[in-house]
């Protein structure tokens, strides 16, 4: 098993925290090195066809592309720690100003999707476990399997076909958010992207929920409770459910992480103004500060979610603490 030293939960948390920090530092090296290794020249990438020698020189000067690499790395790291993510090469505006609204938009999308998908999948998974091997279980399992296998963009395009363009015309196929406005100002534009993400994520959570619920329902602990003569409902709610929640907790956190990955494609399908599209734009323009900032952001998010998941699970699942 994991070599968790004795010391209990706090020690476990601290150790995980330090490991997470280490990973982040390593990631920052990799991100910085990778963006510096980009072939081609950012000024050319930005100006594209209108890159005459005069305009190139002018842009390069403005962007300070001539300072030594180590210098740039240290400045960048220092800036990161102070919340200053640098200035976008393409827009010549602070990265934070550029990304903040898009981050909000993406976060809203992810959170709403999570809010819908998590209860849904817990419910489906639990019910399927309770009625395992019966009709609901068989049908739902297969359906969920099928849905889980589909790539997100396929789900997205199919939903667009069904509800926005070809079959019905009831929902917008595009979810652009004008600057200054927020996603909740036009709720109809959120429906399809959220639906896509829910279909992408929920089946997995449901299946995991089912598996863990089954294990719990067949565990000695629950058997014991039944043998004691407790009513089934009490058995389920007071004894089975708490133990089934542990892995679900972890799974939810990981799914938030995968939702974050899924938004790249989903935002593209629906033209949603979020960080997925910001990433694409930045990569093509060799907008180093933005790429670096986004990469660190995502990495930090993943590490944090992983940490939360691990800690949360330990806290929620008492029997694991003994192994600490």
């Amino acid at each position: 098993m994991n070599r968790l030293r004795s010391g209990g939960v706090p020690r476990f948390i601290v150790r995980r925290l330090l490991l997470g920090l280490l990973v982040l530092i390593l990631v920052s090296f990799v991100v910085f090195a990778a963006t510096q290794a980009l072939p081609g020249d950012p000024a050319r990438a930005i100006l594209g066809r209108s890159a005459t020698p005069a305009s190139l020189a002018a842009l390069r000067k403005v962007l300070h592309l001539d300072r030594p690499v180590i210098d740039q790395y240290l400045t960048w790291i220092a800036g990161l720690l102070h919340g200053n993510l640098g200035s976008s090469l393409a827009a010549q505006e602070p990265v934070t100003k550029l990304l903040a609204p898009k981050l909000v938009n993406s976060a809203v999308l992810v959170l709403i999707s999570a809010v819908v998908s998590i209860p849904l999948s817990i419910a489906i998974g639990s019910w399927a476990a309770l009625k395992r091997e019966k009709i609901f279980d068989t049908v739902s399992s297969n359906l969920l399997l099928v849905l889980a296998a589909l790539p997100e963009f396929v789900v997205g395009v199919v939903l667009v076909i069904l509800f926005a363009t070809t079959v019905f015309n009831v929902l917008p196929g595009v979810s652009q958010i004008p600057p200054g406005s927020r996603p909740w100002n036009d709720l109809s534009g959120l429906v399809l992207p959220v639906l896509t993400l829910v279909v992408a994520v929920a089946p997995y959570v449901a299946r995991i929920m089912r598996a863990s619920m089954i294990e719990v329902l067949e565990s000695d602990y629950v058997e014991m409770a039944r043998l004691k003569g407790l009513p089934e409902r009490t058995v389920l709610v007071r004894h089975a459910l708490p133990n089934a929640l542990g892995p679900v907790f972890q799974v939810i956190a990981l799914n938030l992480a995968y939702l974050a990955g899924g938004i790249v494609v989903v935002e593209y399908v629906f033209n949603y103004t979020g960080i997925g599209s910001a990433l694409q734009d930045a990569v093509i323009n060799h907008d180093l500060p933005v790429v670096q900032a986004l990469a660190m952001l995502i990495a930090a998010l993943y590490v944090a979610l992983n940490l939360l998941a691990d800690v949360g699970t330990i806290v929620v699942t008492p029997r694991l603490r003994t192994r600490l």
Partner: protein, 302 residues
């Protein structure tokens, strides 16, 4: 589309299902008894067959113009034409090969590298374990598709870039599974025995650890193939396919989606193909997983 597995939970020290530990061949054979595995196998075989002999069945070449762009089915084009007037059916028949080949190679590479790292980490149980797994964490700090997207957008949409990016991001996830499955085995007596006899490390890894971890690895492999197909198709959809006009299911969806209202088949046909393929691999993986879980349950858990 989500590659989360029971193995990820196992990594954190919580199991939701006991890790299977059976010989590979018997596991495969037994999983075939399940209806879903068979269905999956049928689907996959059909589509693989389509990918292989499709080009010979196609009525036209993938780039032969057969009519006005975006025309509905009729006349020469059974499924209509695409945005350049090429035959949708022919392009469908030509379009699966590259995705499949790249997905399989990428997954295979990721499997080899990932399994090696994971087994080594489990066996070492010391600093090496920590180092290796932190390295894996660094790679896993990014969603797979983002890393692939950035790599391809920067270096260029060459097949080797896509395959490498996917293999690179697959390996850590395999490593986790391998490590998780190997850890209980590593502590067994027979390993200690081999060590005492002076058997070289690599031999222990290959002949004693590996066979015992093949079960979960196979489940993970099928999951990974499914996901790789999805990523490659998604990259093509985002405009990052190796050959801009190569018939490729993902590219077809993107090329033709603007004309969706006028001629849906250019989009619907490749969607059906991708969906069937990923469903097939998913079913196979699920069949293997269920069989393994069933076997272990019968054995009374770990």
């Amino acid at each position: 589309m989500n590659p989360m597995t029971d193995a990820d939970i196992a990594e954190a020290g919580i199991s939701s299902a006991p890790p299977p530990s059976t010989r590979a061949s018997s596991l495969l054979r037994r999983s075939l008894r399940l209806g879903r595995t068979r269905l999956g196998l049928i689907l996959v075989s059909l589509l693989v067959l389509l990918a292989i002999i499709g080009p010979y069945l196609a009525p036209y070449g993938p780039s032969t113009p057969v009519g006005a762009p975006n025309s509905v089915p009729g006349g020469k084009a059974l499924l209509g034409t695409d945005y350049l007037g090429q035959d949708v059916l022919s392009r469908l028949l030509y379009g699966g090969g590259s995705i499949l080949v790249m997905a399989v190679i990428a997954t295979a590479l990721g499997m080899i590298v990932g399994a090696a790292i994971g087994l080594l980490a489990a066996y070492s149980r010391n600093v090496l374990d920590d180092v290796l797994m932190r390295g894996m964490d660094v790679i896993m700090a990014f969603p797979q598709i983002m890393l692939a997207l950035v790599a391809v957008a920067i270096i260029g949409a060459h097949s080797w870039v896509i395959v490498t990016a996917i293999a690179l991001t697959t390996a850590p996830r395999i490593a986790r599974v391998a490590r998780g499955a190997a850890q209980p085995v590593v502590e067994r007596d027979f390993i200690a025995c081999s060590e005492a006899m002076g058997v070289p490390r690599w031999q222990i890894l290959a002949t004693e650890l590996l066979p015992n971890t093949l079960g979960p690895l196979m489940v993970e492999a099928s999951l990974r193939v499914t996901y790789s197909i999805g990523v490659i198709a998604a990259l093509a959809y985002l405009g990052l396919a190796p050959d801009p006009n190569g018939a490729n299911w993902g590219t077809m969806i993107q090329e033709n989606q603007i004309a969706l209202v006028v001629q849906p088949w250019g989009v619907v046909a490749p969607i059906i193909a991708i969906a069937l393929l990923t469903m097939g691999t998913g079913l196979i993986g699920d069949g293997i997983a269920r069989t393994a879980a069933g076997i272990d349950r019968a054995r009374g858990g770990e």
